[in-house]
Structures are given as structure tokens and as C-alpha cells.
Symmetry: C2
Subunit: 314 residues, 2 copies
Amino acid sequence: MSMTDPTTIAPSQTHSSANGPLLKQAMAARAKVIEATIDQLIPPTSGGDARLIDAMRYATLGGGKRLRGYLAMATASLFDVPDCQSARVAASVEMLHAYSLVHDDLPAMDDDDLRRGQPSTHRKFDEATAILAGDALQTKAFEILAEAETHESTTVRIALITAFAQASGAAGMVGGQMIDMEGEGRALPLEEVRHLHALKTGCLIRYSAEAGAILGQAKPELQQRLRSYGANIGAAFQIADDVLDATATAEELGKTAGKDEASGKSTYVALLGIDGARAEAERMAKSAIEDLAPFGEQADRLRDLAYYVIERRN
Amino acid sequence: MSMTDPTTIAPSQTHSSANGPLLKQAMAARAKVIEATIDQLIPPTSGGDARLIDAMRYATLGGGKRLRGYLAMATASLFDVPDCQSARVAASVEMLHAYSLVHDDLPAMDDDDLRRGQPSTHRKFDEATAILAGDALQTKAFEILAEAETHESTTVRIALITAFAQASGAAGMVGGQMIDMEGEGRALPLEEVRHLHALKTGCLIRYSAEAGAILGQAKPELQQRLRSYGANIGAAFQIADDVLDATATAEELGKTAGKDEASGKSTYVALLGIDGARAEAERMAKSAIEDLAPFGEQADRLRDLAYYVIERRN
């Protein structure tokens, strides 16, 4: 660990939303590494499984912000974890995220034809291929975490797999998707909306921030700090997403806009209004920054990220 | 290990298909333990995730032969692995098998309304719930393998997860499902049919037999023996399945019969005829029994199983 004692260091005062360009640079650089890692972990093939592999690659290599992967790599770098290890964890969480989007876009679910401005996987291929590609992406994500290249310690790998499974299964992401679907067309109270989003998008974003600390074998207190940071970032991100859906154009989003209101979904915007939702997102971003107090200026990009998630336009 | 030196022991001569009743008893006893373990690992809930959990339980607790789970427990018992550990591995592989059936039955895939004589999960619930329940079952299967209750050694747990992921992902079960779908309506040569089934059903059955050896930290040679046994059992099972589809009634099968011929699938029966397919299944069963040569009479039920898979009527 290169960090000096967290109890003697004051949080860096250099961060502000004006440092957005530095963050964007850092995210773009990490995204390239993550993309190359996914490309290597799911290599193209001309064999009998070519169509499945093509669909897996289509769903995962289409760019995107790589927020989750960035969080894993950036938090891991606080503990001097080699990029070659954290990039694999980042690739794995991006694969899991991609599988959830592929299944979420299916006609029986959200029925979305567009994803990042491109045809969603079942539109580009077909429904059966999309179902199977999503299934295989989930498997691949777990397989990567189990491999020795991800970390030399089996204890660390097991800790990653456990946290990952909890964040993405019935008590995490998938559970949130289910509650979301069941709530469609019904007016949910704010607490239920918070709970649903904490599961649906929050758990995996929280895991991503925590993953770096697990990889870095960080002290429990620091691990807990990054968990909390991730949870706050996840909440801020989702509220900002609701605001974007209500205010941005389809062109900016690269997907259908205004879908939430059209489908009668209970969103933060519906419950708090656009300004109220923005204020709530800002509170979450500030809490996220407070969580980083024990970390020095090495964590400045993570501080920038808290502003970024609530200021982004897509 | 209670086993005496495998090189000095002759394979038991007591096995024959006449011992079917002993095997059925053993399978029924294991199936009860596996069912109880699944029930405990996915407990019912009345919370917001009740519908998802209900669907997961519906898909996994509906009985069935528990062939994969039985293999894991029976091979583990060769190495004196406690049942409380092997039952978790068995539950995990049955959950993975169940998820694959839930997704396979979807309208966009095989479009099957019946499973074990009951409405398939998407008919009992709805398509979206079935997709999510399948997704969450896969996650749960990996989560269980990562837990300390499954084995005290993280190295063993990692070995289980790796073998499991390889057997069930794009290079295993899901890859086989994809090739199967793409081959529909086309006449495939025998070698391709063999390859497709080795992936689609073979890999997970092979893993199940291997899992006991991994749990038991068996010598590589014995592990390889059980891998080969599992692969032969898997092949025999699939050929017998094709024969059953062509000869049994829907009532016997608990699902639609004659579907393969109706959909123009390339099956062993289509390629070899019913008698030819039966002969091929018998060859596989004999090879499976040869694989068990190093094991004593403790492996007799596994020998019975080789006959059972080709003689069963459902």
C-alpha cells in the first residue's frame, strides 16, 4: 500500500466539478483498457459457436461509459493493485452489466430496440441468441473472477465472487429488476423507489467500488468507506438517470427518451419534481465525497466522478 | 479417504441392471436431501421479491430425477465427503440445470408449455419473470459454490467454480444450446450431433461426476476417471433421450413427445435408427462402467446408473 495513514491525511481540497476534463481523460483511458481486456477474454471465433460469441462481443464491446469498470479500476489503484488484475475485474462487471441490459431490452421485458444508439442485441441478432448470449456473459463474468490471473490469492477471488453474486442476484440487481417490473403502472412511495433502485442499479455500482478494495485487501474500515461511496454514487447515478430521461433527447441518450413517463413508472422525477430530484442527487454526490475522507489526492478522480454522475448529459 | 489402493482392487462384479431397485432407492434418498437443501438455500419470502423467489422455487423444487445432483453426491461419497457439503454442490448444479430449462422453454427458444408434467415457468408465471428467475438461479448456483459451507478450502471452491463455469458457459452448455438452435431444420452429420450433445447436456453431467472428485480432492488420475465416466454417462443419457422422444408417450415423459421429428431436429435416432441409437447408448454405458475400474463396490450404484440412463422410460 502506498497510502499514508488515513487518519493523519486531510481530504484533498483540489477537487471540484471544474476537474471534469481530467476525469473524462482518465475514464476514456480506462475504458480503452477495459475494452481491450474484454476483447481478449471473449476472442472472436469462426467455429460452431461463432454466432453466440459474436452476440456476446456485440453486447459488450459497443463502448459505453464503463462507469462500473472505471470504479473497480480506480478504487483498486488506491491500493496499488496492478492494472492487469483490476482490468479483469472491470471486464467481468461490465460483462455482467451487459448481460442485464441484453435481457432487460427483450420484448418480454422493457422491449427496447435501441441501446447506445445501436440496435439492441435481440434486434441485431434474434431473441433466442440474445437470451443465450446474456446467459453466457453472466457465466463468463464468474469464470474470470475465479481465474488465477485475477488475483494470486484464492481467498481474494472467493471474496470477489461472493460480493459479486450478492450484488447481482435475487437479493441485488435481478431482484430490483423484478420489483421494477411489478411496480410498473403503480404509484410507488419514495421509500420503495429508493429500495428498488438500491437493488436494481445500486448494488452493482456499489460492488464495483468495493471490488477495488477487495482486490487491494484493504482494511475493513476502508473497504466499508468504498462500499458506502459506491452506494451513494449508485443512488446519485440513478436519480440523474431519471432526470435525464425526463429532460434529454433520444439523440443525447442514444436510446428512447421519455419512456419512464410514458410507461407510468414511479421515478424520482415523478415523486420529487425535476428540481427536487436534482437536489437529492446532489446530496448523494456530497455524501459520496465525504466517504472518501480517509483517502488523499489519489482519490480526486473518484471525487470528480461524484459530480460527473449528476452532471452528465448521457 | 476410506478407499483401499485402487490398483489392487478388482472392480466389483455385483453390478447388473438387475440392481436397478437399489439405485432407485439411492436416487430417491439423495433427491430428498437435494430438494431439502434447495428449499433451505432459496427460502420462501413474503417480501418485495416474493414473486421472483416463488418462480425460482417453482423451477427448482418440482422434483425430477436429480441425475446431476445424484452424480455429484455419489461420486463425492467415494471420497468420504460429508453429505452436507456435497448436497450443496448438488443443489447448485440442479439450480443451474433448472435455469437452463426455464430459458430453454421460453417462446423464443423451444416454446414448451410443459415441463415434468407441469406448466413451464413462463406459463405458470410470465415470460419476464421466467427470464429473471433463470438469471437469478445461475447467480445463486455460483454463490453457493463460493460459500465456506461448501468446502473449507478456498482452493477447492475455486476449482469447483472454474469447472462449473466452463461446463455451463459458451464453451459448454450454452454453446451447445446455440448450436442446437442453429442446426434446427438442417441435417447435421453424426459427428456434429455428437459434438453438440457433448456440449449441450454432456458438459454439465460430466461436471457433476467430476465435482465429487474435486470436493474429495481426489488424485488427478481418479478425477480424470470420473470426468470420463461423466462424459460417457452424459452421451448415453442424451442418446437415450432421443430414443425416448421417438418411442415414449407424453404421459410417460411429462412433456411433449415426438417434438424432435416434428421440428426436423438431427437426432441420433434420425441418423442411426432406433436400434442403432440403442446400441450406441449401450456402448457408452459400457465405457462408463470401464471408467469405474479403479473403484471398488462403493461405486456399484454408479455402475447401476450406467444401465439406468439407457433403460429409463422417462
